[in-house]
């Protein structure tokens, strides 16, 4: 592969990885506080995109309002799912929670199939197309597909730059929220010991609900950005990105938000590079992510930036 393609593929991977990173943040947050792998995370991502689609096409809202409403609805959805499905089994063994999460995931997907029909829809007209234009890094003179910034020849979509920025903002925001606010402190307390926290007078259910709402909002943002980049909306669109985001979160250290971002970026880059270097192995692409997951789990389950936890007997 020539250097230009190599660099282009690196950038391609960065673009994909930025999306994984954003979705991974939500995943890792919920897991860090609740020790629950929320399989339905990817499906809330999917629902948020449908919400945004309908706010624009049916309610005729301008795109920025539609996005805000979609995120709010997704947060509400996450909160509701927790209330209905996860709260009743809070005290049950973890396996039950996991199985229920899978059930909720399939339920949301089936619901989407029935209500929205299984045919992929287009997201292209929902958001201004200027977001999908490419920044051309390098000396190029043609002006064929949108505006460019001329510094090179490598193409990097504007939306990916936006995703990176949003991920960075989310990082900072979460850091502030979890460490500098009372609610954040309550969340940290819940992650350590639910029972004692409730004894301290904290409304544990509300805190957990808020955690889900926040995580779902992040998933929603990730979803909308994903749909802008890959403008195809269908009920199962959240499954694979959700899984890969989970792999990224584990890779970076489950429970660690910066870890999730790091994990997401690295996963995206390695995935694209793998296909770039071995084009005939493109079919193994998804297996690659799982493969990485298993290796990480075997060697260092706490991930890159996570900490080893002692299990109290």
């Amino acid at each position: 592969m020539d250097p230009k393609t190599l660099l282009q593929n690196f950038i391609n991977g960065l673009s994909l990885g930025s999306l994984y990173a954003l979705i991974a943040i939500g995943y890792t947050m919920v897991y860090g506080i609740l020790r629950l792998i929320n399989f339905a995370h990817g499906d809330i991502f999917m629902m948020a995109v449908y919400f945004a689609l309908f706010f624009v096409t049916l309610a005729q809202l301008p795109w920025y309002l539609a996005a805000v409403f979609a995120i709010a609805c997704a947060a509400l959805l996450g909160f509701t799912v927790d209330r209905i499905a996860y709260k009743p089994i809070r005290s049950a063994p973890r396996i039950s929670a996991l199985i229920t999460a899978i059930g909720v995931s399939f339920f949301l997907e089936s619901l989407a199939v029935v209500v929205f029909s299984g045919i992929p829809r287009s997201f292209r007209t929902v958001f201004p197309q200027s977001l999908n234009e490419m920044i051309i890094i390098g000396g190029e003179m043609e002006v064929k597909y949108g505006k460019e910034v001329i510094i090179g020849g490598i193409r990097f979509p504007v939306i990916s730059l936006i995703t990176l920025i949003v991920a960075a903002i989310a990082l900072v925001f979460l850091w502030w929220f979890i460490f500098k606010t009372k609610v954040g402190m309550a969340m940290r307390a819940v992650s350590l010991d639910i029972q004692t926290t409730s004894l301290m007078g904290v409304n544990v259910d509300r805190v957990i609900g808020m955690t889900f709402a926040l995580g779902s909002a992040l998933a929603a943002i990730g979803g909308i950005l994903w749909a802008i980049r890959y403008p195809q909306v269908w009920p199962y669109m959240g499954f694979i990105p959700g899984m890969k985001a989970f792999v990224a979160a584990v890779f970076g250290g489950i429970g660690s938000v910066p870890g999730a971002v790091l994990g997401g970026l690295i996963l995206g880059i390695t995935e694209v590079m793998m296909v770039g270097i071995m084009p005939s192995a493109a079919g193994y692409r998804d297996a690659f992510a799982f493969f990485i997951l298993i290796i990480i789990l075997s060697i260092k389950p706490s991930g890159l930036l996570g900490k080893q936890e002692a299990v109290k007997v």
């Binding site: 059930g103 399939f106 339920f107 199939v113 298993i294 789990l297």
Partner: protein, 348 residues
């Protein structure tokens, strides 16, 4: 109830069941009789998963992978060389597979063994992980198996899959193997091995303190579960008559379906698993009416496609929340239980 009475009852029940199966094949049309066969196959899938998830408490999401392994292994062994020649269009099948053809029984057995071997090598690193991580790891392996099947054109024929599998599976093979599976799993379950598994399920650390080698026990259970999953895969493949590595056939959807079966029937109960399998098979077909145009009191109501899965997953979540014990809870079918069911009418 005396042991002798129980044994005689079981010995009477078995031929009775065989008679019922025989009648089902003679009297029902092929559509229904095939469903009866399918129930047998689902039963094996469910019981093998119950051993792992229910009795050992080890949450595996990789069942579809073992089923797929079983299906492919047995298919490659039962197809005739000429059929293989015709089916493998992208790349030729490797030697010696392209010239072997062996009888169904041995193919199924080998399928189970292959799945068991994979289960061993998958379980070995994965069982060091705790609950959630193990689940994801097994899910990962199951997907890896499927994706490899999709791409290894010279072994599995890739996306084209294997077609025209000989129609070996019938009621007798399916229910016969089900009997074997139930006998095996039950005897394991009621032995000291089974008790150890349950101890591990209830409290892993306490079990370890009691001197039980947690890892060995769980691995054994996982391998046995994998073996029977492979057997079910072989039967399933020959029931379908065409297998391919797509998500719907051998992907997470299949694992989820088996999960539905054992949750419906009762997580941890072998009888429950079989009942769950039967219920699932019936509901799958019966609920089809929700999806097509319905003639209701003369009005035409357009059904909505995808309703079946919605109902299933909705049911699943509802059961998990309100009725996590499922139908049987952890209880098994017993002659005493059956008798007491009738007797309860007497006692007031």
């Amino acid at each position: 109830m005396k042991q002798r009475t129980k044994t005689s009852l079981t010995l009477i029940a078995l031929p009775l069941i065989a008679l019922l199966l025989f009648l089902s094949q003679e009297l029902l049309n092929s559509y229904y009789s095939r469903i009866i066969t399918l129930i047998g196959i689902y039963g094996i899938m469910a019981v093998s998963l119950t051993l792992v998830n229910g009795i050992s408490g080890v949450f595996s999401l990789g069942h579809a992978g073992f089923i797929a392994l079983g299906a492919y292994t047995s298919a490659l062994l039962t197809l005739s060389p000429k059929q293989k020649e015709m089916t493998f269009l992208i790349e030729k099948l490797i030697w010696p597979l392209n010239s072997i053809q062996i009888p169904f029984f041995w193919a199924t057995l080998i399928a189970g063994l292959v799945a068991a071997i994979f289960a061993f090598f998958i379980g070995w690193p994965s069982l060091r992980l705790t609950g959630d991580y193990f689940a994801i790891a097994t899910l990962g392996f199951s997907e890896i198996i499927r994706i490899f099947a999709l791409n290894l054109n010279s072994i599995t024929n890739g996306a084209l899959g294997l077609k025209a599998l000989p129609d070996h599976t019938n009621v007798w093979w399916a229910w016969g193997w089900l009997l074997v599976t139930v006998a095996c799993v039950m005897s394991l379950s009621y032995s000291s091995f089974g008790r150890a598994l349950r101890a591990i399920r209830e409290d892993r650390v306490a079990a370890q303190a009691m001197g039980i080698n947690v890892f060995k026990h769980q691995l054994m259970a996982f391998v046995v579960g994998g073996f029977f999953a492979g057997i079910s895969g072989s039967l399933y493949g020959h029931w379908l008559s065409t297998i391919d590595p797509r998500t719907n056939t051998f992907g997470i959807l299949l694992t989820f379906n088996v999960l539905i079966m054992i949750v419906l029937g009762g997580l941890g109960s072998i009888t429950g698993a079989i009942i769950g399998g039967a219920l699932f098979a019936f509901l799958s077909e019966w609920l089809r009416f929700l999806e097509g145009p319905m003639n209701l009191f003369g009005f035409k109501i357009m059904g909505m496609s995808g309703m079946r899965m919605l109902v299933f997953s909705g049911l699943f979540v509802i059961i998990m929340i309100f009725w996590p014990r499922g139908l049987m809870g952890r209880k098994e079918f017993s002659w005493e239980g059956l008798v007491s069911l009738f007797r309860r009418g007497d006692k007031r």
